[in-house]
Symmetry: C2
Subunit: 404 residues, 2 copies
Amino acid sequence: MKERALRAIAECRHIAAMTEEPGRITRRFLTPPTREVHAHLRARMQALGMTVHVDAAGNLRGRSAVAGRRLLLGSHIDTVPDAGAFDGVLGVTLALECADLAREMSLPLAVDVIAFSEEEGVRFGVPFLGSRAVAGRFDPALLALKDDAGHTLAQAIRAYGLDPDQIPAAALDEEALGFLEIHIEQGPVLEAENLSVATVTGIVGQTRLTIEFAGQANHAGTTPMHLRRDALAGAAEWIASVEKQAKRTEGLVATVGKIEVSPNAGNVIAGAARVSLDARHLHDSVRLGAVAEMIEAATTLAERRGLAMQCTHQLDQPAVSMDEKLTAYLADAIEMAGLQQKPMPSGAGHDAMVMAARLPTAMLFLRSPGGISHHPAESVREADVEASLHVMRHFLQRLSAEIR
Amino acid sequence: MKERALRAIAECRHIAAMTEEPGRITRRFLTPPTREVHAHLRARMQALGMTVHVDAAGNLRGRSAVAGRRLLLGSHIDTVPDAGAFDGVLGVTLALECADLAREMSLPLAVDVIAFSEEEGVRFGVPFLGSRAVAGRFDPALLALKDDAGHTLAQAIRAYGLDPDQIPAAALDEEALGFLEIHIEQGPVLEAENLSVATVTGIVGQTRLTIEFAGQANHAGTTPMHLRRDALAGAAEWIASVEKQAKRTEGLVATVGKIEVSPNAGNVIAGAARVSLDARHLHDSVRLGAVAEMIEAATTLAERRGLAMQCTHQLDQPAVSMDEKLTAYLADAIEMAGLQQKPMPSGAGHDAMVMAARLPTAMLFLRSPGGISHHPAESVREADVEASLHVMRHFLQRLSAEIR
């Protein structure tokens, strides 16, 4: 298993060199380095006896030659700009090891591997393009989306030699046991609790909105405190209240990560301040209740301060539960591997969230050292990768036992 | 007086058309429209019998032909980008009316008029270049300052046909009764109290500094609240505390007008936040005490939040008092004009602040409708301008009485 773990990691490092920008890892949807990744993974899949094709959404799909019930494993191969080497890609290289393991153990499982083409939403502003197609949830209207260069999604797909009209055919057309995604946690929880892996109970629901406070820009020296309508002071009061509410609501994360102030000069009272809110929770009712309170707080403080307040919702995405049975199998496998249980929600969206709409889906998290992701310093521990393979071996055996 | 008021206003509107940018009022130090302003004002000064010259710092100086004690009146003719028509210029056009008034009344006063070349600090980043030269406080090191086009201050002066080596000769070389500047308030106080004019007791001292909070950028979904080191949340808490302290300290204004957050993305916890502080008060001890408390608050909250905190002082400028006698004469003149007294500090810097280091100096504020300045909507009320001329007539008479 140690050898498999080292190879899965080495493969991530190897694929990291396939990038749009020399010296940085950046691999957006169907950009030229995607061809290199496809060529490399195609060869590995073929070596495992798989039949390989790229579907019309750019997903590389390796189909097992084993006659048996089908299990899908995989993750995405696109990256954010200046990314790390493991987000997504590790889920693909580990999937290949698992397919090989299943073959080695002669399990009655056909382990298919999917390398999703797009998950990050960087190039066209909308994420999960790959898994949407596989799950049969690809809205054709998406084809009109444009990237920064003005190319539509349809044009990008054609430029890669694929036919966007064939995307419906990319949808899974047969019943499978399920989909399982192995992914780095991209957060600090496992490290803080000194654990290697976790089962994911669900993907949190998410609200994203923008609040704009409008006051009156004015001279910082000549305007007494009582005659000010300071938009930044109002925004600051709101940011503090959002943080307080998130801290007192179990399991809620709420973030103001972006602020734009006008005119943003040291000697001018801010006339306008626009702030973002990103709120997530595993239970939609908790999230929606908290967000309503946050908007109410903004309304109240704006009134008190003589500010205008406008709230614009960008996203209200419900939480998605992972499949109970597959997740229980994973938990059993963790125990059989001699590791401590850790059920936790995923605070980030993943392809598993989209796939869950189509078939039973589960996720296995690996510790992210330093909680660091979406950054060149992103890493994994060899021992954790090895542990995840032990877990997967037990999981594949448990699933096979069900079939027999 | 009404005619004089209307002319002083019309002259401001006329000069407003002399601009670097068609459709906007922008007139930086010694840029081409300065020549038009000089030509126009020179003709008006000469019509009043004055001897006119442009000193080596670009100040246009009209010297009265009257044999008598000298009084200097004036303000600046440069502007901020996209300015209003009255900031500075009104103090020059009213000075011309006052010189004419003194002549008309045959007062034993030689009323000189100065149109300072630079007060706003826009072109070279350092303000008061004109009055520094007249007050004999011009540091030759300033000549090496560069504008955005890479020209030094010395080059800009030479390009205008002047000799920077002669700046020391621009300093006042004789004793005068004093300097008086008429200026719009650029704030909302007189409008809020429904008053036309005010005597300025002094120019507030000012601290400008930057506080940078450094935490850890992280994923907004995967990082639980208790494992965050959110630099923007820290900055927001600090902004709120600055506002609270300013509100409870009589006469203090404190402004956080600028914030820069990194990476400034809605779904990423802020790793760094840099905020500005601008704090002003008429009494240096109050200002310095308050600023020390604000820095202490930043230190304390940074420690509690696990943030690094760095404070960089940009400016610590002491308050400047106006001359007691001249200011008392102005106050008397306001009373004789049948207006209500209003002594107030100036929250903004003015040429009067620099001139006060060289000779007795006083300032008269005029109401700014809407408190608006440094904006095309900047205006004055005719009745207020007329009132200021009545005040100045009484002031000039009072000063003359002293001489006789």
